[in-house]
């Protein structure tokens, strides 16, 4: 980590986005994670995505659990409210927050220790309810803060820094997310900003539960030979199914890819994802085929990345609950309290 205090100075010619904010407006406090930590690259991708989408930073609520990954919301979007909750329980807190105010963007940041172990249940249930959120798991297969124990996403056969070999089978969060009904599922690598940034942008604009598994090597405890979550291993085994460009609904859609290899995915808000297919057999709308494709490649030791699945149509929890358009936290006495006359009628019905 670094002890440098960020200077307040801003270059007057820093590029601005549509709402007049510079990149710096999306940054947070200086990271206290280890130098070279994959998580910091993910924070950078989140900053980039929000800047490019011209999102007003205060309209984002960032929530996390406990662990290295869950510390990162301090390091981006300094003008947003953040909530560092309890271990593995970010999904429930985020669900409640989302129900209280449907107008904000909800960014849930978690790690493999947080999501795949204590939080496995909450992760699954938030996804299956279709909470409108971006759920990012910063996945390094290891418990960093407590010094290098295996997490539940560690591959069997992978070796810890202390030389212990993992014998438990790994939880594949992407596979689970697909199985339980996530309407947007992606996987990326913290070292691949070109892939990760548009993926986050698309997830933000997606209505419903968007899940992104980001393999993010731990430089301190999981970046050695024998680890399947090291930079070298992931680079060697990464099988990218598509390259995507994300275009908001506000911008003109210009696609310069060769016809035939490009698929344009329209999102509910009018935004568009242009997918350049690298694997001819991959269909991003076919959930069952995606699951089979992932399993097939996993058996060969390949890590499939890209936009893995996006539902052609999606709904969220608010539509399931038929809630009013006004955020619930904006309703006052008038709208909520039935008053004494109604109470007198109620009394009369109980005599």
């Amino acid at each position: 980590m670094t002890y440098v205090i960020k200077p307040k100075f801003r270059h007057p010619e820093l590029p601005k986005n549509e709402i007049g904010f510079t990149h710096r407006d999306y940054e947070g406090a200086v990271s206290t994670l280890c130098a070279g930590c994959g998580h910091d690259s993910i924070s950078a991708a989140i900053i980039e995505a929000c800047f490019e989408l011209s999102i007003a930073p205060h309209r984002v609520a960032k929530l996390s659990g406990i662990g290295c990954s869950s510390k990162t919301p301090t390091y981006f979007l300094g003008s947003s409210h953040g909530f560092n909750s309890v271990h593995g329980r970010m999904p429930s807190v985020l669900t409640g927050a989302n129900l209280a105010n449907r107008d904000l963007i909800y960014l849930g940041v978690s790690g493999d220790g947080d999501t795949a172990s204590i939080g496995f249940g909450q992760f699954a249930h938030a996804i299956r309810r279709g909470v409108d959120m971006v759920y990012i798991v910063e996945n390094n297969g290891v418990y960093g803060l407590t010094k290098g124990q295996f997490s539940a996403t560690a591959d069997p056969g992978s070796k810890s820094k202390r030389g212990v070999v993992n014998t438990d089978s790994a939880i594949d969060l992407v596979g689970i997310a697909l199985q339980i009904g996530a309407t947007f599922v992606g996987r990326s690598f913290s070292g691949d900003k070109a892939q990760l940034t548009p993926l986050i942008k698309a997830a933000i604009e997606h209505r419903g539960a968007a899940f992104i598994d980001v393999i993010s090597p731990c430089v301190a405890f999981n970046n050695h030979t024998g680890s399947t979550k090291s930079f070298d291993y992931v680079r060697e085994h990464n099988d990218v199914v598509n390259k995507l460009d994300f275009i908001t609904g506000r911008a003109t859609i210009e696609i310069d890819y060769a016809p035939g290899s490009v698929e344009v995915v329209q999102q509910y808000d009018g935004s568009t994802i242009a997918l350049r297919k690298l694997d001819a057999e991959y269909d991003v709308h076919d959930r069952v085929a995606a699951m089979s494709f992932l399993q097939h490649h996993a058996a060969k030791g390949q890590i499939v990345t890209g936009l893995l699945y996006v539902a052609a149509e999606s709904e969220d929890l608010h539509s399931h609950l038929n809630t009013v358009e006004t955020p619930l936290n904006g309703l006052g006495d008038q709208e909520l309290c039935p008053g004494s006359a109604a109470l007198e009628k109620f009394n009369a019905s109980l005599r």
């Binding site: 999904p91 209280a100 009013v324």
Partner: protein, 613 residues
């Protein structure tokens, strides 16, 4: 001598769970009520769906005593499994109604009670061919038999059946017919009415008949709750279910048909409280309802809400613990686990409603208190209040009352504030100002965390900043003492050295016990505690008396421990009176236990002439 009483006795129905008796028994209780006679029914049921024994006890009391009395004057024995115990529990001179279709050996009866045989099965078998009908109508047939035996106004029963089956003419006719089958059989074959009778009176007044859970849920509607997350657990499930019904009635926008509420049945209690905290953090009034095991599960989150200062409302409908305990039996047993919920130094605000009317009032007030104090508020109900229909004063609402959202900063307020710090104690009452996500583009955002932080919400592990924060939380708790409902004191007619402290569902039994004690010549002042932290009047009440009895429904005298601990009182001065077998506490028990101790405390000087050498 058979018991003789008008409008003052206890009738107990002994049934098999799942046999359809519940609605017939409730019909009986409501019919008595419609005759203008106060009733207090209690459902004593097993943790089972079908087959185990269940009882329904109706206390009829023209004086309006609503606590359990204890003892049975009239038993309707419909369950062979529990026959022996049930019959043994009848008061001498009491009555027994049983199904006389099959002859019973003489040894199964008692000589000191009046035995009334009605061939219920034979009547039903003669009348109905379908097994289901035979079973269900048997219950209505015995209500009909009772109507003749107790001299009830049958028109009131018919009217109630009419209301129940409004628009279902066939069902109405069938039930009315079954009622008269039983009634007519008694009228033709037995002496009637018996010594226990019901006489139309005017003792109910404008009171309503409602379950505490439903009243508490309505309190949540009136208190502005928009978000409820819960997980099913007896005896609390009927609270969120009632909230759902009330919301469908009061909270659907008439124009758009959209809901001004969100109710989630969560995957467990951890998630329930997590959602409540998330919603409350984001400015919606939110609650969960649970029972003891749920409170145990929620401990970690409750500590977060305390430390991160997030308003949350928890309705705890208590049942007998520990562990799964007796899930369908009542106790006041989560006092300590709620008051000090979670690890580290924590203290929480508890409210103790005595009945449905207070469950409604405190249920609504809890949301104002939560916002004002920015902390979890526990509404401590129990099975006895929550799941039984209780005669209660009508619910009232003051239309001039506006929600107290507490110290919530708007964007305009932030614009004129030079120095916003989430945990700054500007007013000296320990309560800081808070902002909601999305309020202002550049001001007032902060990071909420369960880790230690300074006054500006910045992470710190510095001892001084930590202590500063913990001391402010103590100040906030002091502030709470004057905001929560105050204890209510009622003094005896003459000066006395003795007092009694009680709370919650003990209330009706306590009021009646005072009468019993007075009849025995004991004078005692009483204080009903309605909230924790304790108001200073609790300490002064103890100070004004030599000995104070603390009546509660748990083994370990939890409220007493809390008083000793929080008010620094010598434990010797507080005499525990404890009832914890899972049945509701009775006036007979309280009066007996207190009188025994008072008698023991009374030092009677030895008179010489009485000493036998």
């Amino acid at each position: 001598m058979p018991l003789q009483s008008v409008n003052d006795f206890v009738i107990r129905f002994s049934n098999v769970n799942g046999s359809g008796s519940a609605s017939a028994n409730e019909l009986f209780a409501r019919s008595v009520l419609r005759m203008g006679i106060p009733v207090a029914p209690r459902n004593i049921f097993p943790s089972n769906i079908q087959g185990l024994p269940t009882w329904y006890e109706v206390r009829i009391s023209s004086a309006g005593h609503l606590g359990a009395r204890g003892g049975t004057d009239f038993l309707v024995a419909m369950n062979p499994q529990t026959w022996d115990k049930d019959v043994a529990a009848i008061e001498p001179g009491g009555y027994l109604l049983y199904d006389s279709t099959k002859p019973m050996p003489k040894s199964k009866f008692r000589n000191d009670i009046t035995v009334i045989g009605v061939p219920l099965t034979a009547i039903c078998n003669r009348e109905y061919t379908e097994p289901r009908q035979r079973q269900l109508f048997k219950n209505i047939v015995y209500v009909g038999a009772l109507s003749a035996l107790l001299d009830m106004d049958v028109a009131e029963i018919e009217k109630l059946i009419g209301e129940q089956y409004k628009g279902k003419e066939k069902l109405f006719d069938a039930n009315k017919h079954a009622l008269h089958l039983g009634r007519d059989w008694v009228m033709m074959n037995l002496d009637h009415p018996i010594g226990l009778r019901l006489k139309r009176s005017n003792d109910v007044g404008d009171r309503i008949f409602i379950e505490g859970n439903s009243a508490a849920a309505l309190g949540a509607v009136y208190g502005g709750a928009t978000m409820c997350a819960w997980y099913p657990i007896t005896p609390s499930s009927s609270l969120p279910e009632a909230f759902t019904r009330h919301c469908q009635r009061f909270r659907v926008d008439p124009a758009t048909k959209k809901n001004k509420f969100a109710i989630i049945q969560a995957e467990d209690e951890l998630s329930s409280i997590g959602m409540v905290i998330g919603a409350a953090w984001n400015g919606a009034r939110a609650f969960t309802a649970t029972s003891g095991p749920g409170i145990s599960l929620m401990q970690e989150f409750l500590g977060l809400a305390y430390f991160a200062e997030i308003p949350a409302v928890i309705f705890d409908v208590q049942r007998a613990g520990p562990s799964t305990g007796m899930p369908t039996r009542t106790q006041q047993t989560d006092i300590i686990s709620c008051a000090y919920a979670s690890h580290g130094d924590t203290k929480h605000v508890l409210l103790f409603p005595e009945d449905p009317a207070e469950a409604f009032e405190f249920g609504a007030a809890a949301f104002d208190l939560a916002d004002r104090l920015q902390t979890p508020i526990f509404v401590m109900l129990d099975l006895d209040i929550g799941m039984n229909h209780r005669l209660s004063r009508p619910l009232t609402w003051d239309d001039s009352h506006k929600f107290d959202r507490g110290k919530l900063m708007t964007a305009a307020a932030l614009d004129t504030t030079a120095d916003f710090g989430r945990y700054l104690d500007i007013d000296g009452d320990g309560i800081p100002y808070r902002t909601l996500p999305g309020t202002h583009p550049s001001k007032g955002s902060f990071f909420t965390r369960g880790t230690s932080r300074d006054r500006y919400a910045k992470y710190t592990e510095e001892g001084a900043a930590y202590v500063d924060n913990m001391q402010r939380l103590v100040r906030k708790f002091e502030t709470a003492k004057d905001l929560v409902p105050r204890p209510l004191q009622a003094n005896a007619g003459k000066p006395t050295k003795y007092g009694v402290i009680y709370f919650g569902s003990t209330s009706p039994a306590m009021d009646e016990a005072i009468e019993l004690l007075e009849a025995r010549g004991h004078a005692i002042d009483r204080l009903r505690v309605r909230a924790f932290p304790f108001h200073s009047s609790v300490t002064s009440f103890v100070g004004e008396h030599d000995f104070v009895f603390v009546v509660e429904q748990n083994r370990d005298a939890q409220l007493r421990s809390l008083i000793v601990n929080e008010c620094s009182i010598d434990p010797v001065r507080l005499v525990p009176i404890l009832h914890y077998d899972g049945t509701p506490i009775t006036a007979r028990f309280i009066a007996g236990a207190i009188a025994d101790r008072l008698d023991a405390l009374k030092v009677t000087p030895l008179r010489r002439d009485k000493v036998v050498s």
